[in-house]
């Protein structure tokens, strides 16, 4: 159990580090958000799982923290991206931007 916990801790902190690296390297807000949300959620998930593996009596509280993170992290990124697009921040080297097209056509409220 202890070995499992240690491995989980290392995996979790590694992914936290990688997501922060993505925050640094990506070209625009949308791609930074991709790295930031996924990496931190996964890193937090595994780190807290590691702590839970080493302290089994903390299981329920750790589970509530994990559920809270899994619920709210995508929500905040969604709210922030929607607001940012509405603010008019452009995508870097975009292939297609269907959302802006639909805003032009008036399907979605601007």
């Amino acid at each position: 159990m202890k070995i499992v916990g240690e491995i989980f801790l290392i995996i979790g902190s590694l992914f936290l580090f990688l997501s922060a690296l993505g925050l640094l390297r990506m070209p625009d807000v949308y791609n930074r958000m991709q790295a930031g949300t996924k990496g931190t959620t996964f890193g937090a998930f595994f780190s807290i799982l590691g702590v839970m593996a080493m302290r089994p009596e903390w299981f329920l509280k750790g589970l509530s923290i994990i559920i809270f993170i899994l619920l709210t992290n995508p929500l905040s990124s969604h709210a922030l991206l929607r607001a940012t697009h509405r603010l008019g921040v452009p995508l870097a080297k975009k292939a297609i931007d269907a959302y802006a097209e639909d805003k032009e056509k008036g399907i979605v409220e601007k």
Binding site: L71, L75, H78, A79, R82, R86, E109
Partner: protein, 232 residues
């Protein structure tokens, strides 16, 4: 020039704090007399698992009453000033997304339960009335952010707040009547580290939690709805 002056001031302050704070030890060895007594007898006297709670609510309970009053005065002042203000610009407001609305309607009861957990367990965990009240106010704030036409009942908030304040003062007077001093801990102390322990402390924290939660909610709703006033 300004930068050099600022740096000099900062260095002087740093030296001052170092000079002043160095004699105080960080630890248990040489505390002032009252603090030493609090730390030695606090757990025995009140049977609370959290020593800070025992000091804040029992020995310094009168100060806490003052703090709650200060918060009440601040909220009343904000409400009064906002009712006077006629200088707002018209604001066009947009709906929030469907996802935020759905998630908020599920988060709102959960956060209220979490806030209640924080302030009911004030004598067992680091939480307390103020933190639990802040969590409850944040739940109300989520509703404001997600729904454009959310209106909490203002009279219910103020009635809750007054009743909680009355309960706090009433508990204090009961202590004065039965135990000889304001907020004396007259109830049985119970078993250590369970909910019903530490006598009167959890009751006071529940009162503070209700009071702070309704006060902060009323304050935030005043600030937000006064921004909404000039919509038309």
């Amino acid at each position: 020039m300004n930068v050099i002056l600022a740096l000099l001031v900062v260095l002087g302050l740093g030296y001052f704090f170092e000079f002043v704070l160095r004699p105080f030890p960080f630890g248990m060895e040489q505390l002032p007399q009252v603090a030493y007594l609090y730390i030695r007898d606090g757990l025995k006297d009140n049977n609370a698992a959290n020593l800070v709670t025992s000091i804040v609510v029992n020995y310094r309970g009168f100060d806490t009453l003052g703090e709650v009053t200060v918060l009440f005065l601040a909220a009343s002042g904000v409400a009064f000033l906002l009712s006077m203000c006629r200088c707002l610009r018209p604001i066009k407001r947009h709906e929030s997304s469907e996802i935020i609305k759905t998630s908020t309607s599920y988060l709102y009861p959960s956060l209220i339960v979490f806030g209640a957990y924080i302030f009911i367990h004030g004598h067992l965990t680091p939480g307390g009335g103020f933190q639990g009240g802040a969590v409850i106010a944040s739940a109300v704030m989520y509703m404001f952010l997600a729904f454009l036409d959310f209106h909490p009942s203002h009279s219910a908030l103020s009635v809750t707040e007054s009743l909680a304040g009355l309960a706090f003062v009433g508990l204090g007077l009961w202590g004065l009547w039965a135990g000889g001093s304001f907020l004396a801990n007259i109830l049985p102390k119970g078993e250590w580290n369970r909910i019903i322990s530490a006598g009167v402390i959890p009751l006071i924290y529940i009162a503070i939690g209700f009071k702070v939660g309704s006060e902060l909610s009323a304050l935030l709703s005043d600030m937000i709805t006064s921004a909404r006033e000039k919509k038309e």
